[in-house]
């Protein structure tokens, strides 16, 4: 599976819950907005990734299969 996490930037509020839940895959920029590291989703456990998608309070995260 090649998958990527896409962020709906019009929704994301940058509070960083995603980065706290998945620190190996998601880091934050200087304003707190998530940076999804390249290839990091594939290296993570899919169930963890799905949990983060569901946990985002702004419904800003989407798992996209490529």
């Amino acid at each position: 599976m090649t998958a990527t996490l896409s962020v709906d930037w019009t929704r994301c509020d940058g509070h960083g819950l995603c980065a706290a839940l998945l620190p190996d895959a998601i880091v934050r920029d200087e304003w707190g907005f998530p940076i999804v590291r390249a290839g990091a989703v594939d290296a993570s456990d899919e169930a963890d990734v799905r949990r983060v998608v569901a946990a985002c309070p702004a419904l800003a995260l989407h798992l996209e299969q490529r």
């Binding site: 930037w9 509020d13 920029d29 800003a60």
Partner: protein, 410 residues
């Protein structure tokens, strides 16, 4: 955001090589239906198969900036077409070509759009514009032709990012003129959006056929293109050129200085490039030089202006044009603008500027942050000596002449 409507805008135009899109405009200010027919002849009938065949053979790509093949867009309309949208918002602030076509030769644009509507079964042709004079010209043209009842003109206000195709469609459907967060292409809902010039080129292609259409231009990019040339030139305006024409020829014809300091190609989402005379203007040639052709804007900077100051002015403008709905764009472009302003004021900020450009790149609902990053990064690469000089002496002693204009008339 810029919402100026109905101010005068320069639509003077000239050509290199024989005129196609601009044919007849040396004799008349505007071609009405009769003058249009006398100049271009009647539009031959067409269906979807013929249209796709012609488009494939002529490799016609969108002329709004992204350069997507029109045939591929048509093929993506798998659920059929509901509506054809002519994007005439021309949000690139220095571009004039689309308004020149809409105001001076509107029937050519309508020919192309109505041919697509006919071939795809779309009921409506919507022409989206940001200025009253273009709206008026299209309304008058539609009233002159029997198939004009299908045409609706939508006049809205808006800035740079509201001209993005998905933002235009959203505004037509009664929503805000902002790019939506999810990347659904308009074709998924039966809407075909393309730029004004693309439809006008299609009208030429249907008349000429692919072989004669390719009499000019290059093998990879047949035909002509419209440029808008401005900055430090004696003859600014809209220019029709054979695709692949060398920059040196265009600059000489426009009355640019013999040794310009730099050119900006592709507008404010485009790139700063060294003014190499052999650079071929077209998507292919500009890409080979590391830039993007975009909507065909060419701006010339001469040696009298502070180029770093020009870069700072435009970066500040780009930050102000952020629709502010995406965090990295909203905060990142302001930070980027502050970096470039600091550089122009002689403070060390090159690394910070490159860093912020990387941070914003690709992180927004539309291509505004990526375009701004490209503009700033290419400028910083080209202006390294100027940046050193500003750092050493606090400036270069030259004024900022506004050869890269921001805001202004629509």
């Amino acid at each position: 955001m810029t919402t100026l409507l109905d101010a005068p805008v320069d639509t003077s135009a000239w050509t290199i090589g024989p005129p196609r899109l601009l044919a007849g405009l040396d004799r008349a200010e505007r071609l009405d239906a009769a003058a249009h027919l006398a100049t271009h002849g009647p539009l031959p009938g067409s269906d979807l198969r013929l249209l796709l065949g012609h488009l494939d053979a002529a490799r016609l790509t969108g002329r709004g900036g992204a350069g997507f093949p029109l045939a591929a867009k048509l093929r993506a309309l798998t659920g059929g077409a509901r509506r054809v949208v002519v994007n005439g918002t021309e949000s690139e602030p220095t571009s004039r070509k689309d308004r020149t076509l809409l105001r001076r030769t509107p029937h050519l644009v309508l020919d192309g759009a109505l041919a697509v509507a006919h071939a795809t079964g779309a009921r409506e042709v919507a022409v989206a514009v940001h200025d009253e004079r273009s709206a008026e010209s299209v309304r008058a043209a539609a009233a002159e032709r029997p198939d004009g009842r299908q045409v609706r003109v939508h006049l809205t206000a808006g800035g740079f990012v509201s001209g993005e195709a998905r933002a235009v469609v959203r505004a037509l459907d009664g929503g805000p003129a902002l790019p939506p967060g999810r990347r659904t292409p308009p074709t998924a809902t039966g809407t075909l959006v393309s730029n004004v010039e693309t439809f006008a080129q299609l009208a030429l292609l249907l008349r000429l056929g692919p072989r004669r259409f390719a009499d000019t231009g290059t093998h990879a990019e047949p035909g002509t293109a419209l440029l808008t040339i401005g900055g430090a030139v004696a003859r600014p305006g809209v220019v029709e050129i054979p695709l692949g024409t060398p920059l040196g020829i265009v600059l000489a014809a426009a009355g640019a200085p013999v040794l310009p300091q730099a050119v900006v190609v592709g507008g404010y989402h485009g790139s700063w490039l060294a003014p190499l005379p052999q650079l071929r203007l077209g998507r292919e040639g500009v890409a080979a030089a590391g830039g993007t052709f975009g909507a065909g804007v060419v701006l010339v900077l001469d040696g009298a202006t502070c180029a770093l100051g020009e870069l700072a002015t435009v970066t500040g403008w780009l930050a102000a044009e952020s629709a502010g709905q995406c965090g990295p764009c909203r905060f990142g472009l302001s930070a980027l603008a502050a970096d470039v302003a600091a550089l122009a004021a002689g403070r060390p900020a090159v690394a910070a500027a490159f860093g912020h450009a990387r941070t914003v790149d690709g992180r927004g609902a539309c291509s505004h942050p990526s375009g701004a990053a490209r503009f700033v990064t290419s400028g910083l690469h080209l202006l390294q000596d100027e940046a050193d000089q500003h750092l050493a002496y606090g400036g270069c002693g030259r004024p900022v002449l506004g050869q890269l204009p921001v805001g202004g008339a629509r």
